[in-house]
């Protein structure tokens, strides 16, 4: 994460981020990106994620997650 997006979050989002970091050790970039100016991107991105990751009929959720992790690995992208 190279942009200081966390500095521009609303107080309630900062609190949620703090709790997430306390539990998991670090803040995942996708959560930050989806939370930053949500009406510009995050609110529209969430339905796409749901469609892509949870609406498949041919594959189970676990298989879709495995595909996503595999593709991210090929892209040298932290998943």
């Amino acid at each position: 994460m190279r942009l200081p997006l966390d500095a521009h979050l609303r107080p309630i989002q900062k609190l949620a981020l703090w709790a997430f970091t306390a539990v998991f050790g670090s803040a995942p970039s996708p959560v930050l990106i989806a939370s930053y100016n949500k009406s510009f991107f995050g609110n529209g991105w969430a339905p796409c994620m749901k469609k892509g990751m949870r609406s498949a009929t041919e594959w189970s959720v676990g298989e879709v997650e495995l595909f996503a992790a595999f593709v991210s690995r090929l892209n040298s992208c932290g998943y």
Partner: protein, 142 residues
Amino acid sequence: MRYAESLYSTDEFEGSWHALQENRLRRTTLPEEVKDLVRRVLTSGSAKSSADLRNAVYAHVAALTRGEEPTAQVPADAQTYIRKVALDAYKVLDREVDALRAGGHSVDDVFEMTVAASMSAGATRLEMALAALEEANDAAAS
């Protein structure tokens, strides 16, 4: 005219990248959720950067992704960064983002250009894949 050719034709271009993109969105077989997100990224009033800039970045990256020479102009100091986001996102370096910010681009400008470039690269690849599937299905049926 085949689907892919009609989708990527710029015959109807009348000086507005947004009008061109909207025409494409009406014809494309992208899922509605993706179309809505593209429209949001290109036209949202809550964005801080100009819609013209986001539309130009989107059109620029769409051309790069299809292996074409881009005609939409993006800021000269952001051209290399946008190209990297489009084609080799994992190669983006901290210092490239820092250079954009040092050059006067705000956090919002960089964020929104990056989102527009990423959305364009992803949606264009998805369009190309759907077009290829459609042509393969047509070929199998004939």
